[in-house]
């Protein structure tokens, strides 16, 4: 009778991250794990090209916060009416005209946009920058994180209208990437 034995799986020196067979070298001291290319990797960092950085800084430096913020929030409340659930104490949100003219909406829109400033100034660590705000939105405000994407779509559309032809495909890509990182950071502390 043939006996079947289970062959022990022999691990190869496979670089887990790159899938190529190389010897994994662990740098001494700092203990940083090096990738096969030899570059230290911080899995947390979002990589921004020079174009992306310049584009984001440029957009926000020229932005009229008191125009864009209110317009974006108002648009969000009109286009996705269920988002009104978070603004029960804002008074008259009965129709589009009321929403667009509501002073509390305007004030809050401006506040939100200034909140984005922090991300613009700390593009290399948006996650840490927004840790506190994420806890606030989760524990205190109880905002469904899907709403962040809805607001960022409305913001994209408002900024597009402001910049017109200058809001090219490349600029849009950079802007949406920035907003996606912000949205991800804001949703990070939810559990």
């Amino acid at each position: 009778m043939t006996q079947y034995t289970l062959q022990a799986h022999r691990p190869s020196n496979r670089c887990l991250w790159e899938g190529r067979r190389v010897a994994l070298k662990v740098a001494s001291g700092a203990g940083d794990l090096q990738t096969c290319t030899g570059k230290p990797r911080d899995s947390k960092m979002v990589e921004w090209t020079d174009f992306e950085r310049a584009t984001i800084v440029d957009i926000f430096s020229k932005m009229q916060y008191e125009v864009v913020g209110p317009a974006a929030l108002a648009r969000c409340l009109v286009v996705y009416p269920w988002t009104q659930r978070y603004f029960g104490n804002f008074g008259n949100l009965y129709n589009a005209a009321a929403i667009s003219g509501n002073p509390m909406v305007a004030k809050h829109g401006t506040t939100i946009l200034h909140g984005l400033d922090r991300a613009v100034k700390n593009m290399d660590d948006i996650k840490a920058t927004y840790a506190e705000l994420s806890v606030l939105h989760s524990e205190k405000l109880h905002v469904d994180p899907d709403n962040f994407k809805l607001l960022s779509d409305c913001l994209t559309i408002v900024v597009a209208a402001q910049l017109g032809k200058d809001f090219t495909g490349e600029v849009q890509a950079a802007f949406q990437k920035f907003l996606a990182v912000v949205v991800s950071a804001l949703g990070r502390q939810y559990h």
Binding site: V78, I99, F167, G169, Q172, A173
Partner: protein
């Protein structure tokens, strides 16, 4: 979230303004989609040139917009009106329906740029609903 009579009117009135810029709008929306969502390029590996304003992008942008126009014309029964297109997308093109949302968003961005005064929040919500309904009708035959 079905289309109210007001939504339908809003869409028809607005689309009448877009009608003569169909190629421009379509080309811009498609170019943007390819730039902002590079995964969408996988559907166009047979094109020589995927850059904004290239011949295949212009031509296809116009084709897609004419399809949207067709949907506006049959807005009262999208499923029936878009049956052939749905079969095309389901059996031949097999575009993942998630991409309809992506293109819809890019189209709204283009409309916001080209019609900044007409693309009010009210028009935006009606168009967003319409494009979602269009996308649903287009996915009808998928499974």
């Amino acid at each position: 979230m079905s289309l109210s009579a007001k939504d339908k009117d809003t869409v028809k009135v607005f689309w009448a303004k877009v009608a003569d810029k169909v190629e421009e709008v379509g080309s811009d929306a498609l170019s943007r989609m390819l730039a902002v969502y590079p995964q969408t390029k996988t559907y166009f590996s047979h094109w020589k040139d995927l850059s904004p304003g290239s011949a295949p992008v212009n031509k296809h942008g116009k084709t897609v917009m004419l399809g949207v126009g067709q949907a506006v014309a049959c807005i009262d029964d999208l499923n029936a009106g878009l049956l052939t297109l749905s079969e095309l997308h389901a059996f031949t093109l097999r575009v993942d329906p998630a991409n309809f949302k992506i293109l819809s968003h890019c189209l709204l961005v283009v409309l916001s740029i080209k019609f900044p005064n007409d693309f009010t929040p009210e028009v935006h919500v009606s168009l967003d609903k319409f494009l979602a309904a269009l996308s649903r009708a287009l996915s009808e035959k998928y499974r």
